[in-house]
């Protein structure tokens, strides 16, 4: 075990895998000499060479398209998008091509591609460096969408993504990069895609979350326990698609109450899918209203500090209070 932050865990895991498997190539804007915006690949161009750490032109559609071609023919590309907000020019390549390749080829071949993209807000990034994009892509069959929130999960899920025969969109919440630290097992362990994780055991209610919101839930749960003895179970979704219904539902069936918390715009967000799954499959196990907390339905996270803060926490302690109200219901 070694204590790391999320950024270091991702870097170390990717580095180790690249050392072990020379089919893996990293491509994206500034990933070479600079080592990427977040310095994940600093020095790697020297270590692995320009054939494996590839500085691309500014062209997201081209980056993903080229990566798909590489994936179809023996390589394991990791396409890095500088910020998730800039992925949209590649939407067509991801949705129309990568995700449909296996179905369209009648199973002849798949597309073992990983696309990494730093997402999420709370870092003064303003309208175009803060967005949540998981819902757009979670809607697409054939594409896996992963969003780890702890260093150990980030490393383990990245290894699974690299080993996965299908395309994986690997989202990294920027606010977790340095703020979240934790113990990371040594060695090349994997964390399965499609499996949620109970991050905190509890009996009174279930909070289902992911991304930076997960940490807000864990914090609120700890304080509620201290202040009022309320016991909150916190489920980390970890994989947006395919969703691990079983872990979520068995927790909800145990506690009888559920609150879903996510940073993205509330409407049509991933939390809507989670909430409707609970409503459809665990309705009669619920002893209270199904609660959903999402971001405001506005086009993007604004810049000024009070506005950005409002996006994440519209009222002081809103998650804590919603949990408390639900527990008391």
């Amino acid at each position: 075990m070694t204590e790391k932050n999320v950024l270091t865990a991702i870097r170390d895991a990717l580095h180790d895998e690249m050392s072990e498997d020379d089919r893996i190539v990293l491509l994206g804007e500034d990933v070479g000499a600079r080592g990427g915006v977040f310095r994940i690949s600093e020095g790697w161009v020297m270590e692995f060479g320009e054939q494996r750490v590839i500085d691309t032109p500014l062209a997201e559609s081209g980056i993903v398209g080229v990566a798909i071609g590489m994936a179809l023919h023996g390589l394991l590309p990791v396409a890095e998008i500088e910020f998730a907000d800039f992925i949209h020019p590649a939407f067509d390549q991801i949705v129309s091509e990568a995700a449909r390749m296996r179905y369209r080829s009648n199973g002849d071949f798949g597309c073992p591609l990983v696309i990494r993209a730093p997402c999420g807000g709370g870092i003064h990034g303003a309208l175009y460096h803060s967005q949540s994009i998981e819902a757009y892509y979670g809607h697409v069959p054939g594409l896996k969408v992963v969003l780890p929130s702890t260093p150990a999960d980030a490393a383990g899920l990245l290894r699974s993504a690299l080993a996965d025969p299908d395309p994986v969109l690997f989202l990294e919440h920027k606010k977790c990069y340095r703020a979240v630290k934790g113990e990371v097992p040594d060695g090349r362990y994997t964390t399965p895609i499609g499996l949620a994780d109970v991050k905190r055991q509890g009996t009174d209610l279930t909070a289902v979350s992911y991304g930076y919101s997960l940490h807000l839930c864990l914090d609120a749960a700890d304080r509620l326990h201290q202040d009022e003895g309320i016991s909150v179970e916190v489920v980390d979704v970890r994989t947006i698609a395919p969703l691990d219904k079983q872990t979520i539902l068995s927790s909800v069936r145990k506690t009888g109450k559920a609150i879903v918390v996510y940073e993205d715009n509330r409407t049509y967000g991933a939390g809507a899918e989670i909430a409707s799954t609970i409503a459809e499959e665990a309705m009669f196990d619920l002893d209270g209203p199904l609660v959903r907390i999402g971001g405001p339905d506005i086009p993007a996270m604004p810049f000024a500090a009070p506005l950005e803060h409002y996006f994440i926490e519209p009222e002081p302690d809103h998650i804590y209070r919603a949990m408390r109200d639900l527990a008391r219901f």
Partner: protein, 338 residues
């Protein structure tokens, strides 16, 4: 040193009043960017920001050559282009600080400035996105017969994304009144543009693919930039179609606030610092007979202006959360589920 080829012939001397106006505008942009940088260091400007220090001649020359109703489209590196259209300093600075008195009331910050009233149609954070949009604005001007011209600024990095090529072709086939201005500062963020581009001059070497004349100019030569701005805008206004200008320049600092620009050779930086457009132009004006007292007075006025703007910006309260859901829809609000 970048070889600017033989296209860059020096223009006839501008009339003195134009030159003084150009100098004044460049100095104003310079003091603004320097102040913005100081305020980052004091942690008053949060988040990131992209300065135009060293690139002022391009925004200033075009700003001066444009008609008040012409359109500017620019990038996240857009403080200069915004100010050059006559937007006052105080609301721009207040926007950087995230204040209620900011140009966007604090919603956008440094990267997202717009002032339709000044023909400033937006600074765009998605690289390349604004090129087709500028072409569309030019189409509208054309069918309305308004005589307006759209001027669209972007970096060297933007020339490798599809939107650049789509927009150039659209503008060329429809002969639109738009001037595309590539500010080639030699780097796409941290990567030398030459390492990721098939041709040496990312914009001008591609002009012929769209049936346009290659226009490659020294973007640090203010007189030359003004000449090019006037000629290309005239051409657009008179119905002769679009132009693609490549202005070679250099940013004095890093790509953004957090970037110390260590990837640039010191000798290259030094060479370009010696070609600082503001300092060079000042010397040029002085040697051509403009009194140094006149120039010093212009600098003092700019300093006074930025001091006052900074005070005004700082005095403005932080943005109120009441505006967070404003202007999502045309009715001013954000409700969309009844």
């Amino acid at each position: 040193m970048v070889d600017l080829g033989t296209d860059a012939t020096h223009p006839a001397r501008e009339a003195d009043d134009v030159r003084i106006a150009l100098f004044r505008l460049m100095v104003r942009l310079r003091v603004f960017e320097k102040r913005a940088y100081d305020l980052f260091l004091q942690n008053l400007v949060k988040g990131t920001s992209h300065l135009g220090l060293g690139q002022e001649a391009i925004a200033a020359a075009f700003g001066l050559a444009m008609r008040p109703d012409d359109y500017t489209f620019c990038t996240y590196r857009g403080h200069d282009h915004t100010l050059a259209r006559g937007v006052p300093m105080a609301p721009v600075m207040a926007e950087l600080l995230g204040r209620e008195g900011g140009l966007m009331a604090g919603k956008g910050g440094s990267m997202h400035l717009t002032s339709v009233e000044h023909g400033m149609m937006g600074s765009y954070a998605i690289v390349g996105a604004h090129l087709p949009i500028a072409a569309g604005a030019a189409w509208s001007a054309q069918v309305r017969g308004s005589g307006q011209v759209a001027v669209c600024f972007f970096g060297d990095g933007a020339t490798n994304i599809g939107a650049f090529h789509e927009a150039l072709n659209l503008a060329a086939i429809w002969k639109l009144p738009v001037v595309f201005v590539c500010e080639n500062n030699l780097y796409m963020e941290y990567t030398p543009i030459g390492a990721v581009t098939a041709v040496e001059h990312p914009a001008s070497d591609r002009a012929s693919a769209y049936g346009l004349e290659p226009i490659l100019v020294d973007g640090n030569d203010a007189d030359l930039m003004f000449e090019v701005a006037r000629a290309t805008i005239d051409r657009a206004r008179s119905g002769d179609g679009p132009s693609l200008v490549e202005a070679v320049t250099y940013r004095h600092g890093g790509h953004s606030r957090a970037d110390p620009a260590k990837y640039r050779p010191a000798s290259e930086e030094q060479e370009w610092l010696e070609r600082d457009p503001v300092i060079v132009y000042r010397a040029l004006l002085e040697s051509s007979g403009v009194g140094s007292g006149t120039l010093t007075a212009i600098e003092a006025e700019a300093e006074a202006e930025i001091d006052e703007a900074t005070e005004l910006a700082k005095a403005s309260p932080p943005s109120s959360v009441s505006l967070i859901e404003r202007d999502v829809w045309s009715d001013g609000g954000s409700a969309w589920r009844s």
